[in-house]
């Protein structure tokens, strides 16, 4: 069942983008940032769930049972025990999905028409297409676009490496 999620990712984006383009154009909601957010969400959520699911499965069920007996509700167990323990997994999944959305080009290229709404990756291409601008400026723009990802990566790196569950169980 969970593998079918990954199977869907084997479809190239271009196969999806054409019917979506037609659909959104007919409904008349195509040129919009909110729409793009929705598309990115739909694109990254399954893989995020897949990654988190396999992490949650590694958490010992006894810990959740202990929480239940200690007086938590089901939601309380998730909030007070599962989420704090999942910080590294949540961080890496967040970084991963952010990277996908940040670097995404095809959907932004197809769906957005108004330059004011362009995403950065789409904007850089717009710059590159302009004959009046020097190539150096386009290069500088590309570098600037990668900086946020770089900073985020450095910031998250420490959390990604260490696991938190050490010491909960025996041995």
């Amino acid at each position: 069942m969970s593998y079918s999620i990954l199977l869907i990712y084997m479809f190239p984006a271009i196969v999806l983008v054409i019917p979506l383009y037609v659909m959104f154009s007919r409904v008349g909601i195509r040129d919009s940032i909110n729409l793009l957010i929705l598309v990115y969400l739909a694109q990254t959520l399954p893989v995020a769930l897949y990654m988190l699911r396999s992490y949650f499965q590694t958490l010992p069920p006894e810990m959740e049972q202990a929480g239940l007996i200690d007086g938590c509700s089901r939601l309380g167990v998730i909030w007070r025990i599962v989420i704090p323990l999942s910080a590294p997994a949540l961080a890496s999944v967040a970084l991963y999905t952010f990277m996908i959305a940040w670097n995404e080009f095809l959907f932004a290229f197809m769906f957005l028409d108004t330059p004011e709404k362009f995403t950065l990756s789409r904007g850089v291409v717009q710059l590159a297409g302009s004959v009046h601008l020097s190539k150096q400026l386009v290069m500088a723009a590309s570098v600037m676009v990668t900086i946020p990802i770089l900073v985020l990566f450095l910031f998250f790196e420490r959390r990604l490496v260490q696991g938190l569950t050490a010491g909960a169980m025996k041995g």
Binding site: Q65, L68, G167, A168, M169
Partner: protein, 353 residues
């Protein structure tokens, strides 16, 4: 504290019968041990009492009141897991506080209770540490502390000592016994280790394949096992058990096994005749020089230091006999054995007669 009563608890996992019709009563303040080989359903039973899984049939009563419809947190029981299941992102103090905080106990009271439990268990110095900085024994103590602070009505302990090394296990076992005497709590303790069961329990429940085989005091379990399973499971080395026939001759009962026979004297005239199993514990066999004794050949000797166990060939069967540590036997030697008929355990169709 509370008394615990189980009435006809039944649980199936798919087609597998995990528990069938388990009845049990644990008195207020009693230390009850569930003993059985792995997979006999004892942990399942504990989870049902805690409310973590639901039984298919039957009722769990605390102090005579059914708790079947209550969530785990409302049952007011506490559980120590085999793996301890400490919260790794919290310090020891926070681990101990957690249950009290969840129940809205006022802060000063929490502090007091945590310190008191920590003192009782000797873990005051560890309160600021995280579980990963503790040794196995220390983690075990914290796990005990976490359930003790709450003063629950019932303690459930699921093989709490099985992750400790042998020496530590023995000392923690003694501490646990003392602790129980101090706090006088009702405890249900699950183990597959008969030494733990015999030393800790006021009452021992022997289980196999989801069925209760015997509920008794440890002494009775050892001295009068209810069936062949209990007889073989309790005691180390195992009781010697032999298939054979019982018959009457000249007003006396005799047992004829494969390769040896026993005169049972005037014992058990009500048994009559038929297929039986007789059991004799290794320490109940006497090595002697009587001419009427059984003749056996020593095949192997296990020396465990405090005593020796001789594996003796007797006809087609082999027999384990306890010998004092000073005894000097050699493999191949012929020895004479006598068995007191009063010490025999006789089973018909698996049940004691």
């Amino acid at each position: 504290m509370a008394s615990l009563t189980l009435k006809a608890i039944t649980k199936r996992f798919g087609k597998v019968m995990a528990l069938s019709c388990v009845d049990l009563h644990v008195e207020d303040g009693e230390f009850c041990v569930l003993l059985g080989p792995s997979g006999c359903g004892k942990s399942t039973l504990l989870n049902i009492i805690a409310g973590l899984i639901l039984q298919d049939e039957g009722t769990v009563l605390l102090d005579g009141k059914s708790v079947d419809r209550l969530f785990p947190r409302d049952r007011d029981v506490a559980m120590v897991f085999q793996s301890y299941a400490l919260y790794p992102h919290m310090t020891v103090a926070q681990n101990l506080e957690f249950g009290l905080r969840m129940r809205g106990v006022p802060k000063p009271t929490i502090q007091e209770l945590v310190l008191e439990s920590a003192h009782l268990l000797g873990i005051e110095d560890l309160l600021d540490r995280k579980p990963r900085e503790l040794s196995g024994g220390q983690r075990q103590r914290v796990a005990m502390g976490r359930v003790m602070v709450r003063r629950p009505r019932l303690f459930l302990l699921d093989e709490p000592l099985s992750n400790l090394d042998a020496r530590l296990r023995a000392s923690v076992r003694l501490e646990l016994k003392q602790l129980h005497r101090k706090i006088q709590s009702t405890i249900l303790y699950v183990t597959h280790d008969q030494v733990e069961a015999m030393t800790l329990g006021d009452k021992v429940v022997v289980m196999r394949n989801g069925k209760v085989h015997q509920i008794d005091q440890p002494e009775t379990i050892y001295a009068r096992p209810a069936d062949t399973f209990v007889a073989g499971f309790i005691g180390s080395p195992e009781m010697n058990l032999y298939q054979g026939r019982l018959f009457q001759k000249d007003g006396r009962s005799h047992f004829q096994g494969a390769g040896f026979s026993l005169d049972l004297g005037g014992l058990k005239p009500n048994v009559g005749q038929g297929e039986v199993e007789v059991g004799i514990r290794p320490e109940d066999i006497e090595i002697c020089h009587s001419a009427t004794a059984l003749r056996g050949k020593v095949e192997m000797i296990s020396n465990i230091g405090s005593e020796k166990y001789l594996h003796v060939g007797l006809g087609n069967v082999s027999l384990t006999v306890r010998a004092p540590k000073e005894a000097n036997f050699q493999p191949g030697q012929i020895i004479l054995l006598t068995i007191d008929p009063d010490r025999l355990h006789i089973f018909h169709e698996g049940r004691r007669i």
